[in-house]
Every structure is written in C-alpha cells, then in structure tokens.
Symmetry: C2
Subunit: 429 residues, 2 copies
C-alpha cells in the first residue's frame, strides 16, 4: 500500500471519530491552533524565510515571492480569522427538518460533517491555516497538499497545527495530514472511496486539471467569464458606473466582467460614454462589428466571447434583445456571475431566472460575488458546480446531513397489508 | 459529432430554456403527459406485449418478465402518481435565505433546476414515466436510457411523453430525450460538460459500473449493508421484534438488515430468543465464534461482514461495547441505514452521531429508510453520497440554488479604501 493510500485510510478513520465531536471540543481545537501558531511563530517565520530565499534563487517572480510570504503580521491575521471562525454559528448538528412519521416515530434531518476533505493549494501558506481550521470547525478530516515552493512553511504550519489539536483530544490525531511530494497528488485523486470532496485553491489550470483527473466531487470553479448586459431600459449613468466597476475595480479576479452586452437601442448613446470612461483606465476594448461602427475598438474574434482576460481587456457585443443576451451568456459564459442593468423589474426577473449562473445580478457590479460581501463569514471558495454548493460557499459547503429516526420499537410490517397503520407525516418544524 | 453528444447539447439548451418556466407551465406539462398516456394506452400496451413476447422467446426468467410488464393498470398507476406529483409543493423558486448587504442591495438564495439529468434504468418501464415527470416538475431536462428488453415500451412511452409536452410549450421540445443503443451509455457518461447529474435505477452492479466510469456526479447507492446493534440496555422483546422485521419483512431490498451486532452482556439471553423467531422464517444465520458458542449458526467469514445478501441470510457478531459496534458499522457497512436498540437515550445519541450513515435509527427497523415512509412524496432514489443529497431523496435532490443580488447601481469600489462603506449584512429571513 502506498503512503497516500495509508494516509487516506487514516483520514477516513479520523473522520468517523470526529463525527461525534461537540462544538466545544471543535472550538477548543481552533483555540489551540491559534495559540500554537503564536508559540511556534519563530519556527514558522524561519521556515518561510528559507522558502523565500530558495524562491529567489530559483528566479521566481516578485509577485510569486510576495504571495509566498508568511510573516508575523500574517500569523496575527490567521489568529484573528481563527477567533472569528470560533464565533461563527456551528454548521454541525443543525436541525434542518423534523417530521412525525407516526405516533412516537420521529424523523429528523440534521447537518453533519462530510468526512474527508482534500485540499490542493498553490503558493499562499495562509490557505493551509484557513482551510484546516474551516475543516476542524465543521468536523471534517483534511488532507492538505501545498505547492513545493512553500514546502518548508507548510511543513512548519502543519507540524504546529497537528501538535496543537492532538493535545486537545485524541480523536484529532489524524484530523489534519500534510502530503509533501508532487507525485502524491495523482495518488490522492484516485482515493475516491476515502476522500469525499476535493477543494482546489489556485489557478484555473490547477482546478481544471484536478476536475479532469478524479471521480471525487470537486468544489470550485475553473473560469470566470462574467457578463453585464445593458438593457434598452437601463439608466445609462448607472450602467456606466457599474460596468466601469465590474471591469476596472480589480480586473485580475474571477468575478470581474469580461464581456459587456449592449442592447441595440441604447448602443449609440451608451457605448461612446462608457468607452471614454474605460479610456481613462486604459482598458483595451474588443468589439463585434456593430460595436466597431459606433466606437473605436479592436476586432473581437469568436474566441473572445469565452475568454477570461483577468486583465484590462473587455469584449463588447451589441445584441437585439434580452433573449439574445441570455442566450449569449448561457452559451459562452462560465455560469459564474452575470448582471443586467435595467429599470424594468419584469425584465430583470426574466434575466435572473433564465441565466443559468451561480450569481445573477440586477443593477449592481459582478464584483460583489464573494463570500465576505455576501455575509457568509468564512469563505470555502466559489463554486460553479450544479450540485451540492453553488456560488460563494461558506461553512455550509463543508457539511451534509443525515436522517435520524427515533421510535419505540416501530416495525415496517405494521404499515403493510390489509390492516396497515397509516403514517401521520406531520411536519414538526 | 456523435448522436449522443448532439443530444446532450440539445438537452443543455433545453435546460437553459426551462430555467424560466413557471410552476403553472411545468404542471401543465405533467397534466398533458398524464392525458397522453391514457390516449396512447393502446400503442403503449401493444409495444409492451411485443417486448414481453420477445423476452419470453429469449428465455428471460418469469421474475424479469413480470418486471417488464406495463399494462393498463400500470398506466393508471402512473397517471395517479403524476397527479400527486402535480399537487406537491414546487421545488423551484423557493426563497432559502435573504440578506440585506447594504441599503437597497438585497441578496436572495433561491432554489432552481440543476440542468440536465441523465437517467439510466433497467427493465421496469414505469421508471421512465416516473423519472421524466420528476424532472419536468423540477424544471430539468432529462436524457433517458432504458434496458434493451423494454425497448419497444420505452420508445412508445417516450414518443407519447415528448409529443404531449411539446404541445404545451416549445421550450419543452428537447426536454425529454430517449437514447436507444447500449453503446450510447458510454458516450453519455463522457458528457461531463453537458450532463449535470446521473441517476442510475437498477442493480448494485449497474450503479457501481456507472460510478466507476464517469466524472459526472452520480446520485445513488451501490450497496445496502445495514446493521442493527442490540445494546446492553435494550428491551429484548423490542429488539427481537425490530430485528425480525429488519431481516424478514422484505429481505430483497437495500434497507433490510444484513448484520446484527449484539452486546456481550445480553447475547446469552437475546440470541436464543431471536434465533427461534428467525428459525420460523427459515433465516440462515452466520455467526462469529462467540455467537456460535451460544446458538447454532454457520461460521461467518470476514467477507460476510461486508456482504449484502438481499436474502434470508443474517450475519451475527457479539461485540464488547457500543464503541466497537460503531467501529464495525463504519468500517464494514455501506453507510446506508443502521440502527441501535437501547433504552438509554445518551447511548442512542452517541450511536446516531458517531455512525456515518445516511440514516441512523433508534428503536426502529432499518426498513423505514424510504422516501415514501419518510414522507418526502415522490422518491428520486436513495443516496449514500456525502455531498448534495443523502439518504432517501425527494424532489429537493433535483434542484440546486442560485444567488440573486438586486441593487440600485451599487459598485464594489464604494466598499474599499479609507472611506469604505460598511456592509450591513442584515438577515431578512
């Protein structure tokens, strides 16, 4: 048996042991992790300095080296996040529904941990702390695989976290495990009988490659091709401001707008106005033929409609109708976050029900699609999946439910045949 | 492009078109399907008679031929199910949560269809009607693949359903599609960018082979190795009655008990008593060494602990503690449905929180794990998945949610920097 398989089996056993942990013990573990990070700060920072020096020797870019940094200020930030996580509502043990099946036979649907979560992340070491504590809070065992450029930091963090939680309760002994070699990722992706969910944290390429190589459910999104549709009934000042924000405020992220769709009847008035705003921010515009008859823009090719630029580049298309805008978004988009600008509520409703995206928006910027802005507390990630969890995902994405049926000796044979008892099926919540 | 790919793309387009369908239109489609089945009864029954004659010529067993039967009585049953489905609460458009992000910026979490559901089923033609109507009710497009032994019946049913719904609204044109050849299954399983969920209906082998051959989420269970643990504090009359029901009432199904675990302190009293009940029903007992010292039983091998007999066979093990019972169940079970018999509530709670199964039960028969008995209305299936939907799954397993954010021109740049506005994050529901 390879080491990854053995690790996965220990994680599975840990996840069984963790099913019954109370909130108090899980929060004690979080508290211990926070204290441990502070106590081990010297070792962690020293390991990080080595990683950064090595990265510098390897000629990594300044941007990547900066991402790698995990100093005392970052440790304090992690500690603050852990304390705020402790304050959050317990995602485990929530009564989601309750039904009286018959007198004395009560059915309850109760939230519970999923089991074993595998997390594969690139560079940022704070992701290791964040995701481990999210898993501990929700009672899940976690298997971590970080980027090789942060290996010393990840190792120091994992050693600190593991030794802290082991002191709290022996059921945490295998709750957090760190894999270290690159080859282990492929082995990990094959453990579909042990690992219940994979969360990739990193580039679109990372997410795509993981999605393509495993049968384990993957929570994430591999692209963010977001749209704003400026309707014939849009307030054009509002449209200008929102479209500017959606493209320019932070273009490098998944919820930034990549394509703007403009209704034909307002294109002549709106496009020159918004183009002059974009010119101030040096946004490169790529338009379809109709757009280029109205404003100066490069020619958009078919490929532009499905490209995530993550940069100050915007594709623009003039459309004849709301229906055509919806069709374009459903066809070319990534089902992430898409907005309509209109003063007509009926059209907004039609857009929001017809666009098949994780977030659909009316008269606001796609940039709002984010767990913090949505008020979800800790963010597990953004998902474009169509099952389990969709859009910005908080702690509730790390739990599932079980059915709890309590009786007084009830047997099914009493409910069949000519003298069968009837079920009451009375909703209690 | 192969025909299955083309079909899947048309299903995807249909699913987009169906996102915006009101409950009224979806229920009209169901009504039309019911009327169509009655109007097309002659054709459907004639096709079924041909399938059954062919099955007889091929030498299929009487049991299989009986399963294949879809006569006028079955049509009436389907029609009744469709009417009861129309009466059920709409699973689509439910407001699951609502938050004020800031003044005038309202976030809503709303249930919506998943998209494209593929259903692969064996023999029973009524499954085709049931699953198509469940998908129509929940606004999903469905791709159906039935067993070849029912191909004429399935074809007649699909023709009837498709022509009925097309008359209601053109958005239903590609809502239901039937694949016909066996080779098409493998192609279907590869459409992970078009198909959002697969529901297999049939044998454990079918489910396992599908789970092993696709990256599309599969809703189902491939085994039902269910346990009852008779605790030291059990009422032994109750334990006898419940264990008898769980094994004998209908042994061929997934929620029947396959292994009985008995606490050492009650084994000498309980085992002879329950064994004499089982003897009346001619249940074959297979026990561990300790069991065989108390009652007559065949020897249980390691393989017995993870075998789903689906028959009048029961494995029995004596355990020293509740903890050991839980460990056995989590290790050997299929995480389907497991029960404890005890008068001690604290032990029952510990068992139910520690056993990692879709249904955990106290003082009642595992045979209750079923969508109808749980009061879920229409049953999509039973799932042992750890994400999305678990245990008996009703219509809610065919929906997901989207986030709807409505503003008045809100932009993210107002919420960053030194003069940032604060979010209110006020829960509205």
């Amino acid at each position: 048996m390879d080491a990854v398989r053995e690790s996965a089996m220990r994680s599975k056993d840990a996840s069984f042991a963790m099913q019954g942990l109370s909130r108090e013990i899980r929060d004690q573990a979080l508290h211990a992790v926070a204290e441990g990070l502070v106590a081990d700060a010297d070792k962690i920072v020293a390991a990080n300095i080595e990683d950064m020096a090595e990265a510098d020797r390897q000629g990594l870019s300044k941007v990547l080296i900066k991402r790698l940094s995990y100093d005392r200020a970052k440790i304090e930030e992690s500690v603050r996040s852990i304390h705020s996580l402790m304050d959050q509502e317990d995602p485990v043990g929530k009564l989601l529904a309750s039904t009286e099946i018959d007198t004395g036979l009560i059915l309850e649907k109760v939230s519970c941990p999923i089991g074993v979560i595998a997390v594969i992340f690139e560079s940022r070491p704070d992701a290791l702390v964040q995701i481990s504590t999210l898993c501990l809070k929700s009672g899940n065992a976690v298997m971590l695989k970080g980027g090789s450029e942060a290996k010393r930091t990840n190792q120091a963090l994992a050693v600190s976290i593991i030794s802290s939680i082991r002191k709290v309760d022996e059921r945490f002994n295998d709750a957090v495990q760190l894999l270290s070699s690159r080859e282990e990722v492929q082995l990990l992706l094959a453990q579909d009988d042990m690992v219940d969910l994979i969360i990739p944290r990193g580039s679109n390429e990372l997410v795509r490659s993981i999605q393509a190589s495993t049968r384990i459910p993957v929570l994430g999104h591999s692209a963010g091709v977001c749209h704003t549709y400026v309707d014939s009934d849009a307030d054009l000042d509002m449209a200008t401001s929102v479209c500017y924000d959606a493209k320019v405020q932070y273009p490098a992220v998944c919820n930034a707008m990549e394509t703007m769709l403009v209704h034909r009847s307002v294109a002549k008035e709106f496009l020159p106005r918004v183009a002059s705003r974009y010119a101030q921010a040096k946004v490169e515009l790529r338009g379809d033929e109709e757009t280029r008859r109205i404003i100066e823009a490069n020619e958009a090719s078919e490929a532009d409609w499905s490209t995530e630029y993550n940069d100050l580049v915007l594709a623009i298309k003039v459309v004849p109708s709301l229906e055509e805008a919806v069709r374009h978004i459903n066809r070319y988009g990534s089902h992430h976050s898409d907005a309509i600008i209109t003063m007509d509520e009926a059209k907004a409703r039609a857009f929001m029900s017809s666009v098949d995206s994780s977030s659909v928006m009316w008269n606001c910027s796609t940039r709002f699609a984010d767990g913090y802005r949505y008020g979800l507390g800790a963010e597990v990630g953004i998902s474009t999946n169509k099952t389990h969890a969709r859009g910005p995902v908080g702690l509730e994405g790390l739990v599932i439910y079980k059915w709890r049926l309590s009786g007084k000796g009830h047997v099914v044979s009493d409910y069949v045949g000519p003298e069968a008892r009837a079920f009451t099926h009375r909703k209690l919540t």
